[in-house]
Symmetry: C2
């Protein structure tokens, strides 16, 4: 059975997946790059110098067996990207997804085919409908929910996620979009493990109970 | 120099130090005892059967070198305890503090001397004034901020805490009193370490940078 997975989603100690205010110059707001420094230091990210320790082992699971991604409009571009007919995402001509990507937005546009196997499809639909489409596009492989926090918590709250990997970074952001809101009693449906690593982060894994 | 310390303060993944609604029957609201199960399993708590592992090593630091505690009205009793002239705390005739305890409340009453060295003093004052009084009472030893979340975050926000030990438990409470509110950028003044242990909790230690 194809699964729905979240990987490498970084949050602050107080649970924010992005800071305030998101803009073209500051995609993560006042969080800057601090939510992802742990990842930049892994071989997963830095193919020549990155470390092969515990952080890398978790990070590397990101793409294994994935056939499609779903992301929110807030991940695809800065506020207002829908007004820019030429906006094709943050990632240049050859985005790192190499699969169909469904972008959830209330202002959909025609699909964009990029280099390297990535095609962006724009969809105004419920999380359940998006996942159904993504599963079809994934052709038997798993579907990754790529973020941001809003889309992840909507999919988790709707009971649609099988596995979630969050990475808690030792900073207190104080403001932004919080991943926990609306997820009371998550422990009733998931086995939860915590693994802190020498870099100072804690990997939280949620495995749906069967 | 005498230090101000927080120990064994348990929070949910989403940062709540107590659930909703606090009452005489449910001191931690809907959290019940779940925030403290990790502690009940340690030798620190269970003198005959408790484990001597990592959780116990952290827990045991609670009383070492402490000469006084400060707690909030919400820890001392259920909502409305100020209307009960006979209320002497949750802990029976011989409370586990064995030191002066300052209870911060807007409705102070005369001090109560208990067995075993605990005296409850009731004070309507700023966190800084309470800590000054507690340091005098502690006679050169350290002062523990015993909770709840409101008093801890007020003392941390005022820059008055030297060391904080939080224990993150793998549950999502969704509501209650959150310890993180108002503590943005805590990483600027504290070194932060995370240590997850086999019981499933993660110990977060904050050491004030000098
Ligand atoms: N921490 C991490 O590891 C990580 C990972 C990825 C991204 N991020 C960051 O997270 C931020 C974005 O997160 P976010 O929570 O603000 O936004 P988001 O989850 O990316 O997107 C939310 C937006 O997507 C659209 N949308 C969501 N569900 C929809 C539905 N069912 N139907 C139609 N449209 C829907 C809506 O936008 P419209 O109404 O405008 O169309 C909504 O405002 C960015 O700063 C990004 O850089 C962080
Ligand atoms: N998670 C843990 O490890 C842990 C540890 C200890 C306690 N707890 C739980 O935490 C809960 C209590 O936490 P809480 O955040 O609700 O309350 P709290 O921090 O214990 O107390 C807050 C109250 O103390 C009084 N107060 C605080 N600062 C004051 C000041 N400067 N001057 C005068 N009065 C002041 C006010 O009460 P009044 O205005 O009513 O006087 C205020 O509402 C309880 O459920 C307790 O069981 C949890």
């Amino acid at each position: 059975m194809s699964e729905v997975r979240v990987h490498n989603f970084s949050i602050s100690l107080d649970g924010f997946g992005t800071g305030d205010v998101q803009s073209a110059d500051a995609p993560f707001g006042h969080a800057g790059e601090r939510l992802h420094e742990w990842m930049f230091a892994t071989r997963f990210w830095d193919k020549t110098g990155g470390s092969l320790g515990a952080d890398n082992a978790f990070a590397d699971r990101n793409s294994v067996g994935i056939g499609a991604e779903i992301m929110g409009a807030g991940k695809f571009g800065p506020p207002g990207w829908q007004d820019d007919a030429d906006w094709k995402g943050w990632w240049g001509p050859n985005p790192p997804f190499h699969s169909p990507v469904i972008v959830l937005t209330h202002r959909p546009r025609p699909a964009i085919e990029m280099e390297g196997g990535t095609t962006f499809h724009f969809l105004d639909a419920t999380p359940a409908e998006a996942i159904e489409q993504a599963k079809t596009a994934a052709d038997g492989k798993d579907v990754r929910i790529g973020g941001g926090a809003t889309v992840i918590r909507d999919c988790v709250a709707a009971g649609l996620v099988d596995h979630m990997h969050l990475v808690q970074v030792p900073i207190v952001l104080g403001r932004g979009v919080r991943v926990w809101d609306g997820l009371e009693a998550l422990e009733d449906s998931f086995d939860i493990e915590a693994t802190s690593t020498p870099s100072g982060v804690t990997h939280l894994t949620f495995t749906k109970r069967r």
